[in-house]
């Protein structure tokens, strides 16, 4: 059986490669599983636990999309990708969507032919240095050696920042975040730079976190979000509005605790009713069932709950909401209305 598939594959490879990109939603439904690209491991954002169960902030997005499309948050095939393999995995159709703390940039959106479907975490690049180094600002880092992950936007931002301030640096290129920590602790570099969320997570795992400071400069905008291939707008809509549903749910006070009650019958708030499918036909417009958003929210809670479970202040990573608070609380999270 395998053999025939293989031979058949060879003959139609050229034709099929171009055609197969259409109709991702139908593909996912036919397959019964969502192929979701995640990192090979980033504390708080995506990592399998001791039982091999994927957990994390990005993982929750995958589960929500799976719940919305297939009704089952467990119907996800997590495909681990590295910084180098993530875009080809998405472009070649190996994965349906990528939720891998990927920065939304112009060239990735336009030139690499992807569609970013929103922002699930507003991050920015920062610096961490040992207290013993005695610097209080990134502008004092002239001539410093800097540990930096290759193949990421951090690398480019770093070059921009140092050039703009007319100071020099020595890059120490590094493949994974775990390696970077070790190099930094071993003193291979004076400064470690990556997204501020990553720095906080990293510092939390140190034996003596107090010996290291995060420098006040945030040198870049890093809106991290899920993305899909260009050219399949129906699928992009599904992913975009699933994320928006999580954000709106927090704004409207829909939580995993009260959603069962709220979705049972239409309530007094029409927007909640539209969101949860007790009123109107938003699900049908997306090509999904009426309770798609209910299932997505039930998967692991609304945006705020997901944040608190995985990276919030009660976890070892201890990130505060900051920019990622709802717009009503002075943050940047602002979902378009469900109407």
């Amino acid at each position: 059986m395998k053999k025939t598939v293989f031979l058949g594959a060879l003959t139609v490879a050229g034709l099929a490669a171009g055609v197969a990109a259409a109709g991702t939603l139908d593909d996912v439904k036919a397959r019964g599983k969502l192929n979701c690209g995640v990192t090979t491991g980033l504390v708080g954002f995506a990592a399998p636990d001791a039982n091999g169960e994927w957990k994390g902030f990005d993982v929750a997005v995958c589960r929500a999309v799976a719940a919305a499309t297939l009704g089952d948050p467990a119907a996800v095939e997590f495909v681990p990708t590295t910084g180098k393999t993530r875009f080809t995995a998405l472009a070649s159709g190996e994965i349906d969507m990528l939720a891998r703390n990927t920065t939304w940039t112009f060239s990735r959106d336009v030139d690499l032919k992807f569609t970013f479907t929103g922002v699930n975490y507003y991050d920015g690049q920062g610096f961490m240095a040992p207290k013993a180094l005695g610097v209080s600002s990134a502008k004092e880092l002239d001539g410093a050696t800097v540990c930096i992950q290759t193949g990421t936007t951090t690398e480019l931002n770093l070059a921009d920042f140092f050039r703009a301030n007319n100071i020099s640096y020595q890059p120490v290129p590094i493949e994974t975040n775990a390696e970077a920590q070790q190099q930094y602790l071993a003193g291979a570099c004076d400064v470690f730079t990556t997204d501020a969320s990553g720095l906080a997570a990293t510092r939390a795992t140190f034996e003596a976190p107090g010996d290291h400071i995060l420098l006040p400069e945030i040198v870049s905008k890093e809106p991290l979000g899920p993305l899909v291939r260009h050219g399949d707008d129906e699928w992009a809509d599904v992913v975009r509005w699933t994320l928006n549903a999580l954000i709106t749910a927090e704004e409207l006070g829909v939580t995993s605790a009260n959603i069962g009650e709220m979705s049972a019958a239409a309530g007094g708030n029409p927007e909640i009713n539209r969101l949860l499918g007790t009123e109107g036909n938003l699900g049908e417009m997306l090509g999904l069932s009426a309770d798609w958003a209910t299932k997505a929210i039930m998967a692991s809670g609304n945006y705020g709950e997901v944040f608190e479970q995985n990276i919030g202040e009660s976890t070892p990573i201890g990130l505060s909401r900051g920019l990622n608070a709802q717009w009503t609380n002075g943050g940047l999270l602002y979902s378009p209305p469900f109407r």
Partner: protein
């Protein structure tokens, strides 16, 4: 004359002296120390320095090792218990033991399957490695790939059965025609095998995997040291025959075959393995339609096999070149045709010369299997660098994990190297 001895010599000892113990400086520990550790001033100095280095190493690492903690749930718990003292936190090994060996997605209820396959591996390797064992045992070796495939991947038993039938049919055709001509036997065998595979593949019912005795495990779920062992074993055993074919092809008098072999070998040797792995992971995904099912494990096996086959081909070519021309001529003068001459005269000698080189490639290849971690496969190193170091419990623990990995690799590589030394002694027929 009889009195001459008594008269002409003043004194003659007529009894032996009692045996005396050797002087203290020429015997026992003292002599050994003097000969081996302090023969000259310079060497004595080196001894003292070395002793000091060993002492410093042991005193600094032993407490760290022996005070290690084995039973906590997370690194922070370890640190709490240690309370500032320096000692290893081996709990990560006990807590993630299964993940390190089998990867994080292999179903825990099925761990016995790769374990059985691992034990069977020794039974299958024994008759190949130790040729004094009865030749009939080779049947186990021949069945092992299919059994192991079935055990590790599970699913319907028809897949390995059809594969086995194909090989069997190929062998029958080969045995039938090889007397006429080697080429006819060879290509006839290959054609027969493919015919059986294709026909048999069509006959496997759809959905047979769901009703199978052993739960099917997709390749993506394999991981840990198991993946390293599987890649290493598969690629080494595939690349030796391919390497022999390439080496012979390179010496062929047929220009087309020679050019193909030379280009293949030189191209593959000129490209780093990591590049080939990226090709396997990234480029091949573009060539096949999405979901066509040529899975990553197979793609990686093909690439690593090609890579090591090119190296082994060059090693064997060295062995072929080392044989005196007379051996080739002797084979010709006996009236042997090319396959016979190679099989009976040339290759046994050439391969014997090539053993150290082949083992060298095999050991290197086995260690190179850790490179698959960069294309997001979770082999032992991939497990450590990815999921384990990214978990909130174990983030920040390095020495213990990588030491464990090196111990595992050392055991296997040292075993291979000891075997090759035994083999060289066993095959030594020259007069030295």
């Amino acid at each position: 004359m009889s009195d001459k001895r008594a008269d002409s010599v003043a004194f003659v000892r007529e009894t032996f002296l009692a045996e005396q113990p050797a002087p203290a400086s020429a015997t026992g520990v003292v002599k050994w120390l003097q000969d081996n550790l302090f023969p000259t001033w310079g060497n004595g100095l080196l001894t003292i320095v070395s002793l000091y280095v060993i002492y410093a190493l042991v005193t600094s690492t032993a407490p760290w090792m022996f005070n290690g903690i084995w039973n906590t749930e997370s690194l922070s718990e370890c640190r709490e218990i240690l309370d500032g003292a320096s000692a290893a936190c081996f709990s990560v090994l006990t807590e993630r033991w299964n993940q390190l060996l089998f990867g994080f997605k292999y179903p825990p209820s099925e761990y016995w399957r790769p374990t059985v396959a691992f034990v069977l591996m020794f039974a299958a390797l024994a008759p190949v490695l130790f040729f004094d064992l009865p030749r009939k045992l080779l049947i186990i070796t021949a069945l092992f790939p299919f059994t192991a495939y079935w055990l590790i991947w599970g699913g319907t038993i028809f897949t390995p059965l059809v594969a086995l039938l194909g090989v069997f049919a190929g062998y029958l055709v080969y045995a039938r025609f090889v007397k006429g001509s080697f080429a006819m036997g060879f290509f006839g065998g290959v054609a027969a095998a493919f015919a059986v595979w294709i026909v048999g593949g069509m006959m496997i019912p759809e959905g047979a995997n769901d009703a199978a005795l052993l739960e099917a495990v997709p390749s993506r779920d394999l991981g840990g040291f198991m993946l390293n062992m599987m890649l290493g074993l598969t690629c080494v055993s595939l690349s030796v025959p391919i390497g022999i074919a390439l080496a012979l092809g390179r010496q062929s008098s047929l220009p087309l075959i020679k050019v193909i072999c030379v280009v293949f070998i030189e191209f593959i040797r000129g490209v780093p393995l990591i590049t080939l792995l990226f090709v396997a992971n990234v480029m091949l995904a573009y060539f096949f339609p999405p979901g066509s099912g040529v899975d990553l494990f197979l793609r990686v096996v093909i690439m690593i096999t090609m890579f090591s086959a090119a190296y082994i081909a060059e090693v064997i070519r060295g062995g072929l070149a080392a044989l005196p021309k007379g051996q080739y001529e002797a084979a010709d003068s006996l009236g042997l045709d090319y396959p016979q001459a190679m099989r009976l005269i040339i290759l046994p000698q050439a391969l014997k010369i090539s053993i150290p080189g082949i083992v060298n490639v095999a050991v290197g290849l086995f260690k190179d299997t850790t490179l698959v971690s960069v294309i997001s496969m979770f082999d032992l190193v991939g497990m450590i660098r990815g999921p384990i170091l990214a978990s909130t419990e174990w983030n920040g623990i390095y020495w213990e994990l990588f030491m464990f990995a090196s111990v595992l690799f050392f055991i296997v590589c040292y075993g291979i190297s000891q075997y090759s030394q035994w083999l060289e002694r066993r095959l030594a027929t020259d007069h030295r």
